[in-house]
Symmetry: C2
Subunit: 303 residues, 2 copies
């Protein structure tokens, strides 16, 4: 029986926001979510699910998760929240597997970089649980991966994009938003199609362009000589070409339409620059360069 | 009359490599050349020529130059070496102006980022002095400009590309190479067309692509929102789009053929990636991404 405290508001040990959390994919993203929630005392018990036993063992040893799930169904049955933080192409299979086992109040969310595709996967698999699915994209990361790369500070001050679908349960959306806010994120709601278009331009397209630039030189007959003269500008321009090929294949596959539209627009821009250089319209070329420089300078100043 | 020293090799005050140096364009490149030569005791007297009086006064105050030239003809008449370190489009006019006034042993060199065009300018202006023209390109720089940006260490450990033309005077080429070596550079000789092709790919093309990427977003109807979500990958990818529009216009104009050829090849590479994404050939797409990542990783490791 509880003792009655003199100052109830201060002394009552409140239940955490999330009693039981199940994470599919305990890597940089999923692991950092668990660590940040634990630091904020916003989670009780964390169960990890994954394909690589060594990674799960490391996650438990590092205090990221409290338990390694023996099967996915058991992991989600009593969970208040399920986070799917795997590569995009695994999400649909996981949703299909867990759908029949979700508790009546269990909320499901993801951390995928593209959103319309994940929503389509949820629609085709979750059935009655669909209103408790909250599509989300934390804009944070490093070039590292795995549980060992996780750290509680990853999300502090960064943006979380939530792209709710019509019919979503307000309680589910609120739980997910509060959880990420507890990790230090700022929550922004956006239409899924707009999310995909924006990130196709400012993130996915630059990655494809950087991969293409490095590949062009790698396939040149004098590739070694060319790389020998590449300097600092080239290094920064191509840094994102060091990213995971599999992750970017998945992003290209799941955000196909928006990336193709962005590539199309970019190719038109390049065609225009090609024509200005070819025909010697140097003032018009300078204007485009100057417009780009000014826009970038404003952006950097506003950051 | 000289006193005979006991240890002649150590005590004789030798004449510097360059008695009198004239620099057209006393900015980051020209100013750093003067500072590096002075530190190496490889130059006697430095005369600066330029269009901006305030910059020349700053250069003299900073000890970069010893004298501000009153006219170009006088500056080059007794010079051992003339360096033209102005923007590319000014080089031809300067060569035409100084050609009638060059001393019979005066060597002329440049620091332009493109070489076939500069050689063509020299051929059409220098007449009998052409064999004493040494086309060169020091691969060094920062995003800053002007005499105040100059520093003696700029060239240490970096590459100087020399693209000699048939008939060049060996003494002239040797003087220029020794001068840049005194600044700490490694000298590499290369055919001018090859130079232009290599740098079109590893430097000029990435600049055009970065300008095009930023311009694409700057012209989008929701540019503000897009920039709002751009993050670290975008920042690095577009850093070179902060470069001088005028300098890059000049490079596009003077290395037109090689840049257009590079753009053409790049557009084909993009077309191929577009088709792989559109048609869902995801394994072939992953292979290209992985080939690019592997090439970049090898390059970074070899640096």
């Amino acid at each position: 029986m509880k003792r009655k405290p003199a100052q109830p508001v201060q002394r009552v040990r409140r239940r955490p926001l999330i009693g039981r959390l199940a994470i599919f994919g305990v890597g940089l993203i999923g692991g950092s979510f668990a660590l940040a929630l634990k630091r904020a005392r916003a989670v009780g018990h964390v169960v990890g699910v994954g394909r690589t036993r060594a990674n799960l063992l490391a996650a438990r040893r590092l205090g990221i998760i409290d338990e390694i799930a023996t099967d996915a169904a058991a992991a989600v049955r009593d969970a208040d929240l399920v986070l799917i933080a795997t590569p995009l192409r695994q999400i649909e299979g996981i949703l299909a597997t867990i759908a029949p086992h979700l508790g009546p109040r269990t909320v499901v969310t993801d951390a995928g970089s593209t959103k319309q595709s994940v929503i389509a996967m949820a629609r085709s698999t979750l059935g009655a649980a669909l209103p408790r699915f909250v599509p989300a994209h934390p804009i944070a990361g490093t070039e590292k991966s795995g549980a060992r790369a996780a750290f509680a500070e990853l999300y502090r001050g960064r943006n979380l994009i939530v792209t709710p679908v019509p019919g979503i349960e307000p309680r589910a959306q609120s739980l997910v938003e509060r959880a990420w806010r507890a990790c230090g994120m700022r929550v922004i709601r956006m239409d899924a199609a707009e999310h995909d278009r924006v990130f196709a331009h400012v993130s996915h397209l630059p990655h494809v362009l950087a991969f293409a630039m490095v590949d062009l030189i790698a396939c040149a007959p004098d590739a070694r000589r060319m790389f020998g003269f590449a300097a600092g500008g080239f290094r920064d321009f191509t840094r994102i070409a060091a990213s995971s090929p599999e992750m970017w294949r998945d992003i290209c596959a799941t955000n196909r339409e928006a990336i193709l539209a962005g590539l199309d627009a970019y190719q038109q821009e390049l065609e225009a620059m090609y024509a200005l250089i070819e025909q010697g319209y140097l003032e018009a070329l300078t204007e485009r360069f100057a417009r780009a420089r000014a826009a970038r300078t404003r952006w950097v100043a506003a950051k």
